[in-house]
């Protein structure tokens, strides 16, 4: 089996070579794509460039066997395997062959930097430490219970005793060796124009179990010889210091934090980890290096929760509420993204710079090496032996973190880019022209400008107007008049139609942070004059899992003006696109396994969605 992918790849290369060059672009006036030559590592690739940009879907948060926690839980897939999975090849996930439902356009492996050295020892026979008692125990744990005992004995207890590493750690040379293995896999699978890979890793700091993790992304092959881990510096400021040194060496790098819902208030703080108040330098540095927040992943959606946003009718979605039963990670308003965006603009008011100026991405955080395995009907768990079967998912807990049934398959990132190349995808994320989805391949565009038309004859005309008369998602609106917001979305071709598009506004009024959800368009003319939407009845078939195919709209578009716009007010606007209901994996598990029953309070039906990155208003005074 393992060779088949290689052959497919080889055949594709031949097919490309056989293609005649210089075909004319007859009947092509409406699609201004052009073929250009692209160089990487001494090879030239024919790639397609689209000035209107295309949405490329990919994974920006994934662990393989090179993350020691994943290894102990039973994962043996390497970064190389993970990239093969992302491109549609079958791999063995927890002993069973598995395949992604639809291959990805791009991907990044983000193994934990903290234990890379141990992972190298564990996986390479003959290296010193390979035969140590701890390493053997980690390799041979036959079931979840043993694995957890091993993890506690050799990792957690070592950490508690002040040791950053289990006893078989061989030092930084081993870390470098594994980092090199990851680099090589990332290089090997880069096929410009077809499949992009991005060099990356995860910095996993969790002081007092507050999750401050960040994924770090590099633009090219100018890379550090070793990643900076939380062992070298547990505060974000130390990470930025390291990134600064990297920048001085010409390395282009940014990072994306994830799981604000597990951050115990420390991701959007009032004081830095050194207990000093957030000042201008802090804010500037943070905005410079931190570009996107992970809106959603297997351990929950971090946008909002009903507890603090009771008027948001779509807030109750994959909130991972059982997180609160462990480590004292109680939900508080300041652990959620909408609060963070609000706090950011308030800091702007005080400091003249916004430390939390984030766009949105989505990821899985799968520890199975299964890139963006996000489709509900294709979910096989994300944590090795802990959630590999329907039965495990329905009744087990994810050790010390949450219930498995509260997890979800994770989110996806869409990036608007001119081509499927490493630079274009990285730049797209860096410019925050990215959006998150809860899994479906919904595409969403968002512009703020002046002079937009209410309808357009063509998509091309609309997008050209979008850019020429305004700014795309991720930027500041700089006009002097009230902005018009142009928003557009299309459905995922294998999913149901769309329900509606909303714009969420946050602002600061007399020092107070406020936010509001506006319905800006809904399918079948359901948007009423008072701004509410008539509910739609598009039920999921609970026997078969099928969604409704008649209701809703495949495409929605609107130009919206904020009725309360104030040019002197600090504000942000972001977009939420709501899809019609579909079956959650819990329903698929029950349909396929008559013996499996999730507890009553588990959701069986969800409304998936997409979130477009914000556009900000930053008054100049």
């Amino acid at each position: 089996m393992k060779n088949i992918g290689m052959i497919a790849l080889f055949l594709m290369v031949i097919a490309c070579n056989q293609k005649q060059k210089g075909e004319s672009s007859e009947n092509n006036s409406n699609q201004e794509t052009e073929k250009v030559a692209y160089n990487h590592n001494g090879s030239v690739y024919d790639i397609v460039e689209n000035p209107l940009k295309e949405a490329y879907f990919g994974e920006q948060h994934l662990h393989t066997a090179a993350s020691m926690d994943a290894f102990i839980a039973g994962t043996r897939l390497t970064p190389d395997d993970a990239y093969r999975f992302a491109q549609g090849e079958e791999v063995i996930v927890n002993g069973k062959p598995h395949r992604i439902n639809r291959p990805l356009d791009w991907a990044a492996v983000t193994d934990h930097a903290e234990f890379l050295g141990e992972a190298y020892t564990l996986m390479n026979e003959g290296t010193p430490g390979y035969d140590s008692e701890a390493a053997k125990a980690m390799r041979n744990a036959p079931d979840l219970k043993t694995a957890l005992t091993v993890y506690k004995k050799y990792v957690l207890d070592a950490l508690a005793g002040g040791d950053a590493h289990p006893d078989f750690w061989q030092g930084y040379e081993a870390v470098k060796s594994q980092w090199q293995v990851n680099i090589e896999a990332t290089e090997k699978h880069y096929t410009p124009g077809k499949f992009t890979t991005i060099h990356a890793y995860e910095w996993s700091s969790a002081p007092n179990t507050a999750n401050l993790h960040r994924n770090v992304f590099f633009r090219d092959t100018n890379l550090p010889d070793m990643p900076f881990s939380a062992n070298e510096g547990p505060s974000p400021q130390e990470l930025w210091d390291w990134m600064k040194t990297q920048e001085a060496n010409g390395v282009k790098v940014f990072c994306n934090p994830h799981n604000p819902n597990e951050s115990k208030g420390m991701l959007f703080p009032e004081v830095a980890m050194n207990n000093k108040p957030i000042d201008e330098t802090y804010a500037k540095t943070r905005q410079h290096f931190e570009r996107n927040l992970e809106m959603m992943q297997t351990k929950g959606n971090s946008e909002v929760v009903p507890d603090f946003w009771p008027n948001d009718e779509f807030a109750d979605f994959e909130n991972a509420v059982s997180l609160q039963e462990y480590y004292g990670r109680i939900f508080e308003k300041h652990n959620f993204i909408r609060y963070g965006l609000n706090r950011g603009i308030k800091y702007y008011e005080d400091l003249g710079i916004n430390p939390f100026k984030y766009g949105f991405v989505g990821g899985t955080d799968s520890h199975n090496g299964a890139m963006s395995n996000v489709e509900e009907f294709n979910y096989v768990g994300h944590h090795g032996m802990a959630d590999q079967t329907a039965l495990d998912r329905s009744r087990n807990e994810q050790d010390g973190e949450m219930y498995n049934r509260d997890m979800n398959p994770g989110g996806l990132t869409g990036v608007w880019a001119t081509s499927n190349t490493r630079e274009a995808i990285w730049d797209g994320m860096h410019n925050r022209e990215s959006f998150a989805t809860s899994g479906p391949r919904i595409k969403v565009r968002f512009f703020a400008g002046n002079g937009y038309k209410n309808t357009y004859d063509s998509y091309e005309e609309m997008i050209k107007d979008g850019y020429s008369k305004g700014v795309p998602m991720g930027q500041n609106y700089e006009g002097t008049e009230a902005p018009e917001f142009l928003v557009w979305a299309i459905k995922d071709p294998i999913a149901p139609n769309l329900d509606r598009i909303q714009i969420i506004k946050g602002w600061v009024e007399n020092g107070e942070m406020k936010d509001e959800v506006y319905n800006v368009t809904a399918s079948e003319n359901r948007l009423k004059a008072d701004g509410t939407v008539t509910p739609i009845d598009a039920p999921v078939n609970m026997e078969t899992g099928e969604f409704n195919k008649e209701k809703g709209a495949p495409e929605l578009m609107a130009v919206w003006k904020d009725p309360d716009f104030d040019p002197n007010q600090n504000a942000y606007y972001y977009v939420r696109v709501i899809q019609l209901p579909t079956a959650r994996y819990s329903l698929w598990d029950e349909i396929r396994n008559p013996d499996v029953h999730y507890p009553e309070d588990t959701k069986r039906v969800i409304q998936e969605r997409a979130w477009a990155s914000p556009i900000w208003i930053e008054p100049k005074n």
């Binding site: 055949l11 409406n30 699609q31 079948e524």
Partner: protein, 286 residues
């Protein structure tokens, strides 16, 4: 005789005997079994392991450390053997069976180096492994299901376009879907359109507007200009890959055969009353 030579189990046993013989001959100075000898070969091996990891030469302290580690392991190992601790240990069992299986993998290369004829026969027999993905060049226009006069609009537009009119402006890049698709694989098309759109293309006539064809977005009129289906890569061009695939497939076969043959050697008697009958039977009847 040829048949005999091709029998994997024979080779397997022969190889096993050779491995045993090698160790037997090399351990002559170690008759009592409790002497630990570090000769140049052993030392160089340990040194090599160390250097492999650290990419430099060890200093004296480090040499001492890895020798210590080695001796520590050896004495405990030997003592464990003397006490028969290796027997019925699940990890030892797993490791040894893995080693034996690895031997059978190596066997494959020894007894089955394919000649040109065999390779070609393999290629002919397993053509589906070397098939190009089906691909198409086509134009499409889209109508969504909620449009008024959908049927009439489609028929009228199809006629216009078949009479030589270009794609109407309102149908250009509709829902951002490009009208023109060139040499795209079925998988690519499926990803972009959903529904049965991609699998329907093969049934459509060439060089005229036809339809409607359903996708995840709505109804399409389609003009297929080129179909590349059922094409195989030329044997000569992909010979190295045929060879790799041949090796892999025969490796799987050899492994299975060695397992089957060994199973013959060790009679299996199942006395368990707890094992489900059907499973029990499958071993008795093999």
């Amino acid at each position: 005789m040829k048949k005999f030579i091709k029998e994997p189990l024979v080779h397997f046993l022969l190889l096993g005997f050779m491995i045993f013989g090698y160790y037997y001959l090399n351990k002559t100075d170690d008759q009592s079994g409790n002497v630990i000898v570090i000769d140049d070969a052993e030392y160089d091996y340990l040194l090599g392991l160390w250097k492999n990891q650290w990419k430099r030469d060890p200093n004296e302290q480090e040499i001492k450390a890895f020798i210590d580690q080695y001796l520590r392991q050896e004495v405990f190992y030997k003592e464990a053997l003397a006490l028969n601790l290796d027997h019925n240990d699940i990890i030892v069992k797993r490791r040894l069976s893995q080693k034996m299986e690895a031997v059978s993998n190596d066997l494959n290369a020894m007894i089955n180096p394919p000649d040109e004829g065999e390779l070609r026969a393999f290629y002919d027999k397993n053509k589906s492994l070397f098939q190009f993905p089906d691909s198409y060049s086509f134009h499409q226009v889209l109508f969504t299901n909620n449009e008024s006069n959908l049927q009439e609009e489609m028929e009228w537009t199809m006629q216009e376009m078949n009479d030589g009119q270009g794609i109407p402006k309102s149908l250009q890049l509709k829902l951002s879907l490009p009208n023109k698709w060139e040499d795209r694989t079925e998988a690519d098309i499926n990803k972009a359109f959903g529904g049965d759109f991609a699998s329907t293309l093969d049934t459509l006539p060439i060089n005229r507007w036809t339809g409607p064809v359903e996708s995840g977005f709505g109804q399409h009129l389609v003009f297929v200009s080129k179909k590349d289906t059922g094409r195989w890569a030329d044997f000569e061009k992909i010979k190295p890959y045929v060879e790799k695939e041949y090796e892999y497939q025969t490796e799987l076969k050899t492994q299975e055969q060695v397992y089957r043959d060994l199973l013959e050697k060790y009679p299996v008697i199942i006395t368990s009353k707890h094992m489900p009958e059907r499973i029990k039977k499958s071993y008795v009847e093999r």
